[in-house]
């Protein structure tokens, strides 16, 4: 459905809190990004950002709970793709995540997901949902040449 701003919802789906959902969500968004004309590198980057966001929602947010879902919405707007990943977890603060590239964190096994997300999309935001949970919003802009 077109809004007054020409936004088009491409996907609005609830996923179980499983690793299989991560693969499914990544594949869906890759398909959409390709269909609307993003180049190969951008599609790869969008896919990885979604994968990392979904892992965060499934593993750290919902903690694999069978009762909790992850909602994924993908909206294409003129010149950009907006992806929202909503979990039902306890919430997290982007600022509280340590920088994995500092000397003291460089050899830690985990903690690089957000760094990759930030590297691969143009805007990253989080906000708490009204009842519980967090939404992670990712925006990827399209180069005019695409």
């Amino acid at each position: 459905m077109n809004s007054p701003h020409d936004a088009l919802i491409r996907l609005d789906e609830f996923f179980a809190s499983t690793l299989a959902s991560v693969d499914l969500a990544e594949a869906e968004v890759i398909r959409i990004a390709g269909e609307i004309g993003f180049g190969e590198d951008d599609v790869f980057q969008i896919g990885m950002a979604v994968r990392e966001g979904m892992v965060n929602a499934v593993v750290h947010g919902n903690r694999y709970s069978e009762e909790k879902k992850v909602r994924l919405t993908v909206t294409s707007e003129p010149g950009r793709l907006v992806i929202r990943i909503e979990d039902e977890g306890e919430g997290f603060d982007l600022q509280s995540i340590p920088d994995p590239t500092t000397d003291e964190n460089l050899l830690r096994q985990s903690g690089r997901g957000l760094l990759l997300i930030r590297s691969f999309v143009d805007e990253v935001r989080t906000e708490p949902l009204r009842k519980h949970g967090t939404v992670l919003e990712l925006v990827k802009r399209r180069d005019p040449g695409d």
Binding site: L19, M48, E52, V55, T101, L106, R108, L115, L116
Partner: protein, 114 residues
């Protein structure tokens, strides 16, 4: 497809040819178990060939780091061979390019252990 790992010996160097995806779940746990197994067998010179690895996520990168520290803590060395452009990019973003020794040529990589 998850990751497929093939192990061969070149002199005293253990070469692990990886193929597929190293991602959270099966791919990363298979990788972790293989490294631990080789270290438990006393192997200390490990060359990881990532030429056929199409995809690594942050969990897979974490496994590379974990493998590196496991081997190093046992007095050995783990080095990387044949990185694709995307894997190179990931190591640069995460600044891990400064941690790993990376080679494009197997013979040179094997010689570097001696």
């Amino acid at each position: 497809m998850s990751v497929k790992l093939t192990i061969r010996q070149v002199g005293d160097v253990t070469v692990i040819d990886a193929e597929g995806r190293i991602t959270l779940g099966e791919g990363s746990s298979a990788f972790r178990e293989t490294i631990r197994d080789r270290v438990a067998k006393g192997e200390r010179k490990i060359l990881l060939n990532l030429g056929e690895v199409s995809y690594i996520d942050s969990s897979g990168i974490g496994e590379l780091v974990s493998a590196f520290t496991t081997v190093t803590n046992h007095g050995g060395a783990l080095k990387l061979l044949n990185l694709t452009k995307r894997v190179k990019d990931l190591l640069q973003i995460t600044k891990l390019y400064t941690v790993f020794e990376v080679f494009d040529d197997e013979a040179t990589a094997v010689r570097s252990f001696s």
